[in-house]
């Protein structure tokens, strides 16, 4: 056979076995940890409480009108702006110049803000109100 002048052929080398294995965890003289293969990531409150991090904001509650819903003075609210407002959801609203948190009551064409404390009045939203639903409360974090 004529040897080609311009081409050099290489053939793959097949070898059996995998050679030495590099152990990057260090080698200890004792037993390897039996837990190593089962390691999982730790519980993250971010993952549990936040589904949409770009739309999530925090706020603090001042006052008592929502205590029966578990929202106490000084509690931290997790608010998701991407959620759609709907009946029965707890919402952070901007009403006539200030932020407030209340449960939404949507009936036919009417919107009511319902406190969760009998001592406080239910507020009916009318056309005269300056009213914006800022975001929906998804969790409340409280110190004990």
């Amino acid at each position: 056979m004529k040897t080609p002048k311009n081409l050099v052929f290489f053939s793959p080398k097949t070898s059996s076995g995998n050679g030495a294995i590099f152990v990057d965890t260090g080698i200890s003289a004792g037993f390897p940890s039996p837990a190593d293969d089962f390691r999982e990531t730790r519980i993250s409150l971010d993952d549990e409480l936040i589904t949409n991090k770009e739309a999530t904001f925090f706020a603090k509650v001042k006052g008592q009108s929502m205590i029966n819903a578990g929202l106490d003075d000084n509690d931290l609210l997790v608010i998701d702006r991407s959620l759609e407002p709907a009946n029965n959801k707890i919402a952070v609203c901007f009403l006539d110049g200030e932020f407030t948190v209340k449960r939404l009551r949507v009936e036919k064409n009417e919107v009511w803000l319902q406190p969760e404390n009998p001592d406080y009045p239910i507020i009916k939203i009318t056309e005269e109100n300056d009213f914006v639903i800022w975001g929906i409360v998804t969790s409340v974090i409280k110190k004990v």
Binding site: N52, E54, A55, F57, F58, A59, K60, V61, K62, G63, Q64, S65, M66, L71, D73, L76, L77, R81, S82, V92, F94, L95, G97, E98, F99, T100, V101, K102, L113, P115, Y120, P121, I123, V132, W134
Partner: protein, 424 residues
């Protein structure tokens, strides 16, 4: 196709998210140290408050016109910007974050999309999720998408915040509407030269012979002309490319003439630059320092001096950068001048993983671990607790931020308050 998404009056809009009372009202935001107006709402623009207005001269004007004046709150603006940009990443994998409030998206393979609908979805989602209003311009090239965005912005009611250039007819109409000085990348000097040649609109610019543009100006203008003609020559820039220059500059609350004070400020600015440099994993070898006297003081000449120190090897060490900056400032400092502003700019940046090693490199190998330790401690304490010896520890240099809103999104102690009481 390219989309340019621009946040409307970004700083003022960020403030309005957490203070909806400012909606529809004039708002102005001041530069660091509450010097001059750097951003404002449409309502403030309508009152003809000028950009860059030194606030001490315009205080009574703002009061008289009920303009809410706020200090700049960069922790808040930075976080809100990151939210907007992350939302945009869902709309195209090819994104170039162009500035704190602007991004280009390349819409490769989106030909079957209804661009108007897509742009509407983008705007709505950003507004709903973050509260920030935007405008979207879509066109076959980057420069044209900028033009489209301007058109959308200038006519919000009619455009509904969206402008799409998808035909020759629309392109020509848009370019005829756009004054040459308003074109992306045409600076003041260039504008004058072009206007002298009778180029008044962006359309006139596209009509110039292209080899003449190349000869008379440069490849940059030639590319811009092609882009405006609808032939894409300005590609999307790599989003991960790090900054080519880092600066820390401040106006002082008062003026300083004592060199010890100036040296301390320069050292602090240099340290801050070095920290940013390490964050982006780069090193630098050029350090520029400048000093300026008070522009508004009529009793002394306005003085601005700068000087650049060249290091023999690139470094990211605060110690070396600070030392070089302090040495450099001695060369430009003049006794008896009341200085009002100073700054450190570092450039000649190289990524840490591939710079040319110098045979005679004298960098102390201990600096790297030392800097890493300082950075991690300062991060842990959320403030720069560890400083260099030439940063005076006893003095508290406070930025003047008399009208600062809260760090609503970055500090748990400053989140906004919602009332759960309501007047009966």
């Amino acid at each position: 196709m390219f989309a340019l998404i621009d946040c409307n009056n970004f700083y003022a809009s960020c403030e309005r998210v957490f203070n909806p009372n400012l909606q529809g009202k004039p708002v102005a935001i001041l530069s660091n140290n509450d010097g001059c107006v750097i951003s404002m709402s449409d309502e403030a623009k309508k009152l003809q408050l000028p950009f860059g207005a030194p606030i001490f001269k315009w205080e009574s004007f703002c009061k008289a016109n009920n303009i809410t004046v706020l200090s700049s709150n960069y922790p808040l603006y930075g976080d809100m910007s990151a939210r907007v940009m992350n939302i945009l990443k869902d709309f195209s994998p090819d994104i170039e974050v162009y500035s704190i409030d602007e991004s280009f998206l390349e819409l490769k393979g989106f030909d079957n999309y209804n661009f108007a609908e897509y742009a509407t979805t983008m705007r709505r989602r950003i507004l709903k999720w973050t509260g920030i209003p935007t405008c979207v311009g879509i066109a076959p090239t980057k420069a044209l998408s900028k033009v489209a965005n301007k058109i959308a912005r200038s006519n919000l009611k009619q455009s509904k915040g969206i402008c799409i250039i998808d035909s020759e007819e629309k392109r020509i109409k848009a370019l005829k509407w756009t004054k040459i000085g308003k074109v992306w990348g045409i600076g003041g000097r260039l504008q004058k030269r072009l206007e002298a040649k009778g180029v008044v609109t962006a359309y006139d610019f596209t009509q110039l012979p292209s080899d003449w543009v190349l000869k008379e100006f440069s490849i940059v203008e030639w590319r811009l002309q092609k882009d405006l003609q609808g032939i894409s020559k300005i590609p999307l820039e790599d989003a991960v490319s790090s900054k080519k220059m880092i600066a820390t500059t401040r106006s002082f609350e008062n003026t300083y003439s004592d060199i010890e004070n100036i040296k301390e400020r320069i050292s602090t600015f240099a340290t801050s630059c070095a920290k940013k440099l390490r964050e982006q994993k780069s090193s630098c070898h050029l350090i520029t320092v400048f000093l300026r006297s008070n522009r508004f003081d009529k009793n002394q000449p306005y003085l601005k001096e700068s000087t650049t120190a060249i290091l023999s090897y690139p470094t990211d060490s605060s110690l070396i950068i600070s030392k070089a900056a302090v040495e450099a400032v001695k060369n430009i400092y003049k006794k008896g001048i009341q200085y009002k502003k100073a700054g450190v700019i570092i450039s000649g940046l190289v990524p840490n993983d591939n710079f040319q090693l110098n045979l005679f490199s004298e960098e102390n190998p201990k600096h790297k671990p030392l800097m890493a330790a300082i950075d991690s401690l300062n991060k842990k304490f959320k403030s720069d607790k560890i400083k260099l010896g030439n940063q005076d520890l006893k003095r508290t240099w406070k930025m003047r931020q008399e009208r600062l809103s809260k760090k609503f999104t970055t500090n748990i102690n400053e989140v906004f308050i919602v009332n759960s009481y309501h007047k009966k």
